[in-house]
Amino acid sequence: YPLYQLGNPQLRLFRPNWALTLVRPGREQPSDTVQFRIPMEMTKCDVKNYLEKVYSVPVGAVRTRIQFGSNKKRNHLNQKVKQPDYKVAYVQLAQDQVFVFPDIFVEKSSEEGEGSMEQMQKQFMEDEKQRQRGDPRRAGVTEWFGL
């Protein structure tokens, strides 16, 4: 960052290269709190301004902490492998807004099309099962015995 001396103009950042990641909270958070993973260089003021300017989200308060990434795990060469450290920001929305983390990976019920892959696979599995089953007239008795 450029040097600041008394009387200098406010530091302005055009085209910030900071990417925010919205994460699902590990612990239960109040309904107005949104959890982000932010780059280490960002501050609370930076997060507030970022959200307000780029996303026009009214921000009340921001609290940050740095999460230490473990250095305990070892790879196949028995060398320690470091997981990267990251900064977490807890943003409380202003104006009594509420945020619920949505379920993005809901399984969609796929309709089987006529010539679709799923249809063919299902048919194939059913054919295989049919081959495995014995004569229905023997009512479950194995065919190993004669007669």
Binding site: Q5, R12, V23, E52, E107
Partner: protein, 252 residues
């Protein structure tokens, strides 16, 4: 750009520049500490324009309302939740970006940034739910587009600086000899006081003391040795191949 598909098209489509002209009439307001008002200017010229150029673009009905709920833009469009693949166009190329004006590049940067945030959110949530992320190649495309945008902006800045002041580099730097006998490109730091008042700076030595000479000689010897060994190895390999394949043309 979760809510507006217009922004989605903008961020990822390759050939749409013939179709889209981003309106540059929206003034950017520089308030607060860090950021300028982003490109919430919706490219209203996209509405009704047929996406006939890039066949990979998802032709959805385009609307141009500004999204109210800002945090929705951290997630994909709700139609895409649960899909295994999401279609996306090619990344921006340098030639394409050079044809854009500065205002358009500025707005595109913010669109790409928002898209990147959205993709990172999805990636993290996929890791959390232990599910594979749909179309992870989008991240690479966005990353490359942003790098190229940076490159174009830097080019323009250097050109302007050269014309106005004659300086090649924004940050002052110079060739300096360091302690190890190597001549390096030393980039200057910004200080509040001049160098002759800076005690720590004066303790730094930008020359090579005489006791380093043996080390330099050894280093030179090592370099020459490795280069000679490399050349010998290549010659031997060529000779071996030549023995096996006599008609072989001498290749590198």
């Amino acid at each position: 750009m979760a809510a507006t598909s217009a922004g989605r098209v903008l961020a990822l489509c390759k050939q749409f520049h013939n179709v889209v002209r981003i309106s540059s009439t929206i003034p950017s307001q520089n308030t607060g500490i860090c950021l300028t008002k982003s490109s919430l200017a919706r490219p209203n010229l996209l509405a009704g324009a047929a996406c006939h150029i890039c066949p990979v673009v998802q032709c959805r009905p385009l609307h141009t309302t500004i999204s109210r709920m800002g945090l929705e833009e951290f997630f994909d469009l709700p139609d895409n939740w649960g899909e295994s693949t999401v279609k996306s166009g090619a990344p921006w190329t340098v030639t394409l970006l050079r044809s854009k004006s500065n205002e358009e590049l500025h707005k595109l940067w913010y669109l790409l940034l928002k898209e990147k945030n959205m993709l990172l959110t999805i990636e993290q949530e996929a890791k959390r739910q232990r599910v594979s992320m749909p179309s992870p190649e989008r991240l690479k495309k966005i990353e490359r587009s942003m790098q190229r945008l940076d490159k174009v902006v830097e080019e323009r800045e250097t050109a302007l600086r050269l014309l106005q002041t004659g300086q090649e580099y924004a940050r002052p730097a110079d060739w300096r000899r360091n302690l190890f006998g190597k001549v390096v490109w030393h980039r200057f730091r910004e200080y509040a006081i001049p160098w002759y008042m800076n005690a720590t700076y004066k303790r730094r030595r930008f020359y090579t003391p005489s006791f380093v000479k043996p080390h330099i000689r050894l280093r030179m010897e090592k370099n020459l040795r490795t280069r000679a060994r490399q050349a010998d190895l290549e010659k031997k390999q060529l000779a071996k191949l030549k023995e096996k394949f006599p008609q072989m043309k001498a290749s590198s």
